[in-house]
């Protein structure tokens, strides 16, 4: 965060009504009035600095940072000063200006080397590129894509988009031009995709054919298929609607096997390694596991659309913690679906219902170590 948070940031929301008179002097009267109006409308008071998981006194490992719904959030100056930051925090979508595109049904998320956040929007059939540094929103694939789902970006910032309606993968260059499309004939309903940058593999989950197709990310050639459709026994290595995939630092492939309510792990050669999870409502169980991502410490994040939370596991499948709940306020989700994690530890979660992409920050093992030590809890940090 910035070195000096604004006073508005520190304001305890519960005491708002009492303090509002004092604040009017220091704040713009218009903003104050809007806030007051909002408050009267019954918006839940939220202090984002306290949106951390797990809560105190435990050491926070996930922090809420921001919500993006469209251009308004990225560049507030270009829009009418109707929406205050508090409206955004409350997750209330303000009416957008004519021609200002807004996320409708976001699915896949990816982040490029410049920190631009790419969100596939199945509702409007295009990919949004949120450049937070330049405060710009760009669009990829307007009039080219029809139902973009999974996204992946390689180290040269080529963008791979799975289009589940056109049964193909589209590639866009860094400048936004279309490089090509491939996969027709191999893919029936491509959903989530993942890229193994070392091996140059593009993994595509085909949720209709119930397997994962592997393509060469440079030559775009079909290589092989991982897994097969499940029968009622759902033996290891078979899928019931695999929707999303992720790759860890060792090149292992993690697939969220949605209808079998489990996560399956394969090595880069396609050999089954392990699986975990079963249907249920305990922590570590799944109902509809969808988006999956791996952070810098090789923890596995799994979004569950039914629970509207993100469960975090170690790479052997032991549950570590979860965050999120059903709701429309920051830190809560309505139909949570996609997830992406960048190398800086930013966790971006998309929701189908509210059309938001919420940004969280993972506090890494190394960053959290001093806090644990302060509390007298020894931590072994994995040698890098």
């Amino acid at each position: 965060m910035t070195s000096k948070p604004s006073r508005r940031n520190l304001l305890p929301r519960t005491g708002y009504a009492v303090l509002v008179a004092l604040l009017v002097a220091s704040l713009a009267p218009r903003a104050g009035a809007a806030d007051k109006k909002k408050h009267q409308a019954g918006a839940p008071p939220v202090d984002i600095s306290k949106l951390v998981w797990p809560g105190p006194p435990d050491v926070a490992r996930i922090r809420y940072e921001a919500t993006i719904t469209g251009e308004d959030d990225v560049n507030p100056t270009t829009t009418k000063k109707k929406s205050t930051w508090m409206d955004k925090l409350a997750g209330v979508s303000m009416p957008q200006e004519e021609g200002k595109p807004r996320l409708q049904k976001p699915y896949g998320v990816a982040v490029d080397s410049k920190g631009r956040i790419y969100v596939a929007d199945g509702g409007s059939g295009r990919v949004f590129v949120f450049d937070l540094e330049k405060k710009k929103v760009a669009i990829r694939g307007a009039n080219q894509l029809s139902s973009p789902a999974g996204l992946a970006i390689d180290d040269t910032d080529r963008l791979f988009v799975a289009d589940s309606a056109q049964h193909a993968i589209f590639i866009f260059r860094e400048d936004g031009s279309l490089e090509g499309a491939f996969g027709e004939g191999w893919l029936h309903r491509p959903a989530g995709i993942a890229l193994d940058n070392e091996n140059r593999f593009l993994y595509v989950c085909d949720s209709a054919e119930n397997h994962v197709v592997v393509f060469d990310a440079d030559t775009m050639k079909y290589l092989r298929v991982v897994g097969a459709p499940s029968n009622e026994n759902a033996v290891p290595g078979t899928f019931g609607n695999p929707t999303n995939a992720a790759v860890d630092s060792e090149g292992n492939l993690y697939v969220s096997d949605t209808f079998n309510a489990r996560i399956q792990v394969f090595d880069a050669g396609g050999q089954f390694i392990r699986m975990w999870g079963k249907r249920g409502s305990n922590p570590g169980n799944f109902m509809r596991p969808k988006g999956i991502a791996v952070d810098g410490d090789d923890h596995i994040y799994v979004v569950d659309s039914e629970f509207n939370n993100v469960q975090i596991f170690d790479n052997e499948g032991r549950i570590l913690m979860f965050f999120g709940d059903r709701g429309e306020t920051p830190g809560k989700f309505m139909l949570a679906t996609g997830i992406g994690i960048d190398k800086g530890g930013h966790v971006i979660v998309t929701e189908q219902w509210t059309g938001r992409a919420q940004i969280f920050r993972y506090v890494s093992e190394a960053e959290a170590k001093p806090e644990y030590e302060k509390q007298g809890k020894a931590r072994d940090v994995k040698p890098q």
Partner: protein
């Protein structure tokens, strides 16, 4: 929301770390010679132990890819990657003999997953490009990063001096072969006693005297001795026969003749019975006799010492030698009932014969609920440090119940699992009503092993096929309840009765 507030940290993190490593910093030709690589990577070719494949050039394992730029603004991209997807896959292209198939052979676990756990693919200071030597203390020994043998020797115990000579003295990590052979299972250079005899000469006078001048040259050393460490002197195994422990060899052995063991009484069974007449009576008079117990006692028990309680040679393998069906399950099924295949068949079956079919220790659900009921009453036995069940007949590890949460079910309950109203007893198993089998735990679960953790009889993870065996439209109408069924006296039925009485 002001996005700019959190931008600085975004920017710092994004730009300070190089995101990916696969891009080669210097543009290369796809047919680059190894000499060119060595200009920068000279360190990979120097060292005490260099991979022989290095002489074949870098391109034997690595591949250079050049992706040409689509316009003049961008440079071509050079990538260097392995030819195969995984490092292990790359190694196996030449070292195919190291590959084992999981069902037929036993492979050192790290070998199956990642060769680079132990080896450096290019060069190392140590033999076979190991990351650390296979000898030395805890910190420098590669094997001791995972294994703990010899590290926690008790004060009065003993430690095999050969541990200081390095693990490779007795073990060969990559040995692959049939699982049931000990030398394969423990990756031994060769099996005992031949292995032991490389250092310990059986003709040595002191060694002979220590073995009371009995012929021991061809005996299995590991029957009485632990190869690594022991709580007792001379690496003795944990469980010892009382006369053996007290050195009272004469009670069983006469002086050896022509290099052969001579017992005071023959056959050996008669010798055992002189003390263990109780067991002999049980074997002879059992209502359900165990044919396997009619022969020599030493077919299953070790006469001197053993790693296992009751001096069993092995609590599972001795049974499997006659029961191939269970041995097959042990080999092939993914999930095993720990009580059977870890703690031993004798947990549930009485090897000396019993009152009940299949030599079971208790009838029906009572057998399972001895451990799985909240009313279980394991007793702690201070003499052995074990917990006992079945009135002391079975001794189990002290932590046996630590990881065994009980079901909400007690011996004699007629319903309650998997849901409160599901019958578990006193009704007919409707999956095959012709047989009129009563409902028990075994109506739904397998006692030995299954494909999934809950050991369902359908060998599935999903409960649908299991439930469908009874709960389907095509199933025959419910058969009459077993006579005198306690189901009839269930609370719901009672209430109904009372209601009817009242109405009358």
């Amino acid at each position: 929301m002001k996005v700019s507030r959190f931008f600085p940290i975004l920017a710092v993190v994004f730009f300070s770390t190089s995101l990916f490593a696969a891009k080669h910093p210097i543009p290369l030709d796809p047919n680059t010679n190894a000499d060119k690589c060595i200009e920068c990577h000279a360190d990979k070719t120097k060292g005490a132990s260099v991979h022989s494949a290095m002489s074949m050039g870098c391109m034997a394992c690595h591949e250079i890819r050049v992706i040409q730029s689509h316009d003049k603004k961008h440079e071509d991209i050079t990538r260097v990657k392995l030819i195969k997807a995984t490092a292990t896959g790359q190694c196996l292209t030449c070292h195919e003999d190291m590959k084992g198939s999981a069902d037929k052979s036993t492979v050192h676990a790290p070998v199956t997953r990642n060769c680079l756990t132990c080896h450096d693919p290019h060069t190392s200071k140590y033999k076979n490009q190991l990351l650390k030597p296979a000898e030395g203390g805890k910190d420098e020994n590669l094997c001791l990063q995972c294994h703990i043998q010899g590290l926690n020797v008790p004060k009065d115990g003993s430690r095999h001096a050969a541990l200081d000579m390095g693990c490779a003295t007795c073990h060969t990590t990559h040995k692959i072969g049939a699982k049931d052979k000990r030398e394969n299972q423990f990756h031994l250079v060769k099996d005992a006693p031949a292995l032991c005899k490389d250092c310990h000469d059986p003709t040595d006078a002191a060694l002979k005297k220590a073995h009371h001048n009995q012929p021991f040259g061809n005996a299995d050393c590991l029957g009485c001795h632990d190869a690594h460490q022991s709580y007792k002197p001379k690496l003795a195994q944990l469980f010892r026969h009382a006369p053996f422990e007290s050195g009272d060899c004469e009670s069983c052995h006469a002086e050896a003749k022509d290099g052969k063991v001579v017992l005071t009484t023959n056959p050996s069974r008669d010798l055992c019975v002189t003390c263990h007449d109780e067991q002999a009576k049980q074997i002879a008079n059992a209502k359900v006799p165990h044919p396997g117990a009619q022969g020599e006692c030493i077919a299953c028990h070790s006469p001197h010492a053993s790693r296992f309680d009751r001096l069993l040679k092995d609590p599972v393998k001795v049974c499997e030698s006659c029961h191939p069906l269970q041995a097959e399950m042990h080999r092939t099924k993914g999930h095993l009932h720990a009580a059977a295949f870890r703690d031993g068949c004798y947990t549930c079956h009485n090897g000396h014969g019993g009152e009940l079919p299949a030599l079971l220790r208790a009838e029906g659900n009572r057998l399972c609920l001895e451990c799985h009921s909240p009313n279980r009453r394991p007793r702690f036995d201070p003499a052995t440090g074990a917990v006992t069940i079945f009135n002391g007949a079975v001794r189990l590890r002290r932590d046996y119940f630590a990881s065994l949460p009980p079901l909400d079910l007690q011996a004699g309950d007629v319903m309650g699992h998997p849901i409160a109203a599901h019958p578990v007893l006193a009704t007919i198993d409707r999956s095959d009503p012709e047989k009129r089998r009563p409902m028990t735990c075994l109506s739904c679960h397998q006692p030995h092993a299954g494909a999934f953790p809950n050991l369902l009889v359908t060998d599935t993870n999903s409960s649908m096929p299991l439930c469908g065996r009874c709960h389907n439209a095509a199933a025959p109408p419910p058969p009459d309840a077993i006579t005198n069924s306690p189901v009839a006296t269930q609370p719901a039925a009672k209430k109904k009765k009372k209601k009817e009485e009242k109405q009358q």
